[in-house]
Symmetry: C2
Subunit: 275 residues, 2 copies
Amino acid sequence: MELWFTELQKPGMKISCKVLQTLHREQTPFQEIVLLDTVQFGRMLVLDGAVQVTLLDEFVYHEMLAHVPLHAHPAPKDVLIIGGGDGGTAREVLRHTELESVTLVEIDRRVVDVCRRFLPELSCSYDNPKLQVHFEDGVEYVKNKKACYDVILVDSPDPVGQAARLFSAEFYRAIFEALRPDGIFAAQTESPFVDAELIGRVYRDANRVFPITKLYQAVVPTYPTALWTFTVGSKRYDPETCLRKPLFEDDLRYYNADLHQASFKLPNFVKKLLR
Amino acid sequence: MELWFTELQKPGMKISCKVLQTLHREQTPFQEIVLLDTVQFGRMLVLDGAVQVTLLDEFVYHEMLAHVPLHAHPAPKDVLIIGGGDGGTAREVLRHTELESVTLVEIDRRVVDVCRRFLPELSCSYDNPKLQVHFEDGVEYVKNKKACYDVILVDSPDPVGQAARLFSAEFYRAIFEALRPDGIFAAQTESPFVDAELIGRVYRDANRVFPITKLYQAVVPTYPTALWTFTVGSKRYDPETCLRKPLFEDDLRYYNADLHQASFKLPNFVKKLLR
């Protein structure tokens, strides 16, 4: 027997992965959590039928979400991660040993539990004493914070259902308030091939709040079309400028200082979305 | 009824596209040619079950294969395209109005016929008087040429069956001989996520022949993992340097001078393949 998991990524477009084993499956109050072991991608976390991370390509997403804003800030001390219960973004953030605190706000405690059990490659930082985890709604959490963070990372699922609030102008204003006067935020913002309208809207919304707003890109094979964007808003520093070579560059599989700057050089059709 | 086309891209990994209509299907002496109209990707050329071009993303592949080497050469006059029967690469090459001749060598005349009928967006340059088309084996064609071309582009299918010869050290030596003393060649060379060994071998083979060998990347969603590489060998000029801003940049959807240089900034895991 062959077992295949298929995700309908967009109408008329599917990706399928051959499954060696279903390691875990449960319905929480928030979503269906599935953990698969696959032939080509290794272990894979699937939430409500959509691939979130796979061992083949998670490093691209997590390194690029974390290290671009962190290397654009001259001296980050306190970082907030909204979402990211799998732990991959926290793992990358905590490579920056100069940080004093990292706060992770994940709505679904079971995502953390399942990833701690089945994805130790991602969840390896949960015992780091600098990391505080709050199980609550990220939108609500950030509302009450004023000038507490140097860097805020939005590690969200697709803008479907409740997660759509993580792509709203109101949320970006709250993030602005939660950042210190020289703070930077970055968020994953989907694919220009199939989410063009969303990218344009998010960019314009963020640009109304932040003095400097830019888009950068990376390639995550298991996400729809693989061309993935991150929107970054900054109060003072140009996020395109990498201020220091990573001390831990040998441990990274994707990010480097040259790629930092190169990732902001966008194809013409993506630049047009930002007009 | 729903009709879906599925490509087994690698063991354990499939992409599926919902089909509106099968426009053409035939078996030639060389391969099976299928032309589909799909929901998400528009019209699509499939050879022996593998997606070659779709209207959604062909511009990425063709612009990057053509314009990177052509903008790295100060004054190209004569260009050879090996493969590329769909016409997309010739379309991009012929934007360079300074060229005197473009020669396209395609083994299967029926690919050209089918694309002229169903993919006018790609095959629009076949009536250009600067374009000469030869229906013969590209490997044999290039063997007899000495110092005739400024730029040679290898627009090949995957290295399966006969096409494997287009990825051989012997072929790169023949290309070197066919180029003028300051010539440049570029070839599509698959994905670092799933064809790592091939990329390393091709790079080392080309590097034994050409004084300057580099790799650059682009994102083609319908190719396996979407992260696509091109290997470029050059006798004199650094292919990473874009010598002039394209006069026709407004007509391009992907390539621009900034992206030219950025596309050579590789992720760490890709750089490692070239050691």
